[in-house]
């Protein structure tokens, strides 16, 4: 028996959220007293790094024409079955959200996405997962003997657990994919919002798209990503992929800085799990202050430049 972890790569490096999944898998495998197996596509990947975080073996799944191809979940499922995996772990990225349900069906497994905790014990497979868009958590018990888990990024600290990691190749059949990629448009050189440890976010208080330079500068200085409130993306000041909240994306960075955002309940839903929340707003009555750890009452156009020069100092 084993715990299997599927990893995603970006520019030939394992993504941070995938390493988190590996660390989770390593702790779970120890708890269950079974082996930890890592697997990935296109892996010229670095097995030393996998061993560092607890992988005892690595299965190179070979090249798939594309990670979102419809053959990908079948391959992951079959490779997991080949090592008798009882738990299959992925990151709850867009890719993970597409793969994990399909793997659950082909492995006849119970599925939990958006998972934020390890199970209570090896015998009680109950995990905590986010529900109601960040407004609550649910404890879910998975009943099938095989389980598929997709983990919320930034929910687990990365810890080392050095092991010797052996490589093997998976030689199973791979069916042709019906899904063909026509084109890909990746924003390169920027930290992905869902993976970012620091997020600087702007609202309608910033008055217009021309004022986002200081938001981006601040984010860059902290190696963070930028986000925005819903009206800001509705007015096309910022791309919709930056919209956080109940109907946008849910994030949980270590630090969330909200500038000129009032803190409506729908906005808070997407960001309230952030570890530290800083609010900058000229209105001392802004509801966001109630959800904040640190607050500055002031004009963004005066406060933010001061923060930028302090960051540069």
């Amino acid at each position: 028996m084993s715990v299997a972890v599927f990893l995603e790569l970006e520019n030939n490096e394992y993504k941070k959220s995938s390493i988190e999944a590996l660390v989770y898998g390593s702790q779970l495998a120890q708890m269950m007293g079974i082996e930890l197996v890592a697997m990935a596509f296109q892996a010229s990947g670095n097995t030393d790094e996998l061993g560092k975080y607890g992988a005892q073996s690595f299965i190179a799944l070979g090249d798939t024409n594309h990670i979102n191809a419809d053959s990908a979940p079948t391959i992951i499922s079959a490779a997991s079955a080949s090592v008798n995996a009882t738990v299959i772990i992925l990151s709850n990225s867009y890719t993970g959200k597409n793969l994990s349900p399909q793997i659950a069906v082909s492995s006849n497994a119970s599925l939990a996405t958006n998972v934020v905790s390890l199970p209570a014990s090896a015998n009680d497979f109950t995990v905590k997962r986010g529900v109601y868009s960040g407004k609550a958590f649910a404890y879910v018990t998975l009943n099938k003997s095989t389980k598929v888990l997709a983990l919320t990024p930034n929910s687990f600290d990365i810890k080392e657990n050095p092991q010797t990691c052996n490589i093997s190749a998976y030689n199973g059949e791979s069916a042709n994919s019906k899904i063909n990629v026509v084109s890909t448009d990746k924003v390169t050189g920027k930290v992905a919002l869902t993976e970012a440890e620091v997020v600087v976010s702007g609202g309608r208080g910033l008055k217009g798209p021309e004022n986002w330079g200081m938001v981006e500068e601040m984010a860059d200085l902290m190696n963070g990503a930028t986000a925005c409130s819903k009206p800001v993306s509705d007015m096309e000041w910022r791309p919709h992929s930056e919209h956080v909240g109940q109907t946008g994306i849910t994030i949980k960075p270590n630090l969330y800085i909200a500038i000129g955002i009032s803190g409506a309940i729908q906005h808070l839903a997407g960001v309230s799990s952030s570890k530290i929340i800083v609010v900058i707003n000229k209105d001392p009555e802004a509801p966001f202050f109630k959800a904040a750890d640190y607050g500055i009452v002031g004009d963004a156009f005066e406060v933010v430049p001061k923060l930028i020069s302090a960051l540069k100092a």
């Binding site: 069906v105 609550a136 009943n143 019906k178 026509v182 750890d293």
Partner: protein, 243 residues
């Protein structure tokens, strides 16, 4: 050309989420229930595609009779007919399995990117895998022509465009369209459109929720004077070590 849209019914986005005293159930008193916002987009896009291709749209919902007003709203948006599987929606796997029993005759099946209550984002992939057809999640654009869909989807750190033959399942992301608002004629017509209630075929065997938990409240905000804004950076760097 037949489109099936999967629709969930969720607490309005302004709802303060609270649970009963043993934390096993949502407190529903005074909570208004609405069509899941992403499913409104899926319905609207389904209608646009069906209208352009001489097709029909069916919505399917797994839930109790108290959700019928939301189903009627979908019908008033222009949907032709509705199916309600009369059961509690135990989990995404149960829901997908129930929908799969009624989903074999459609060219295009749409879901929302996720339900804003359960947040599984799972029904699209589950349903596709059960039916053995392609799953394309978080789509912001769909072009349908001659049994083929060309779709743009969000991927981690960007977007991609894919094409696949129908039947297929896709999940609606913001930007797909603006939700259609029912007009008076639609509301009148909806009253007599078919809403077929069917029994569930399977049991909830995959998972169960033992309890809910509310997030720990913040301990209170510490204010920093705007004149000493730099102090914030010092705290973040040296005390909290988050940057």
């Amino acid at each position: 050309m037949k489109v099936l849209v999967c629709m969930s019914v969720v607490p309005d986005t302004t709802t303060k989420i609270q649970f009963n005293s043993d934390k096993t159930e949502l407190q529903k008193d005074g909570v208004q229930f609405i069509i899941n916002p992403y499913d409104e987009l899926a319905i609207t896009k389904g209608l646009e595609i069906a209208e352009a291709n001489n097709g029909t749209v069916t919505v399917i919902h797994v839930g109790p009779a108290e959700n019928d007003p939301s189903i009627r709203k979908a019908l008033s948006m222009g949907v032709n007919e509705a199916i309600r599987v009369n059961s509690i929606a135990y989990d995404a796997q149960f829901v997908a399995h129930e929908i799969a029993q009624h989903a074999t005759e459609y060219d295009l099946i749409l879901t929302g990117r996720e339900s804003i209550d359960f947040n599984g984002g799972a029904v699209c992939g589950l349903l596709a895998a059960e039916l053995g057809i392609p799953s394309v999640n978080v789509v912001t654009e769909i072009q349908y022509a001659d049994g083929n869909c060309t779709m743009t989807r969000d991927i981690d750190g960007g977007r991609e465009t894919v094409s696949c033959p129908t039947p297929c399942v896709a999940s609606a992301q913001k930007d797909l369209c603006e939700p259609r608002i029912p007009n008076m004629r639609g509301i009148m017509a909806a009253r007599t459109k078919p809403l077929n209630v069917v029994a569930a075929s399977g049991a909830a065997e995959y998972s169960n929720i033992s309890s809910f938990e509310s997030p720990a409240p913040k301990s209170g905000v510490k204010m920093i004077d705007a004149d000493n804004a730099e102090e914030l950076i010092n705290i973040l760097k040296n005390d909290l070590k988050v940057i």
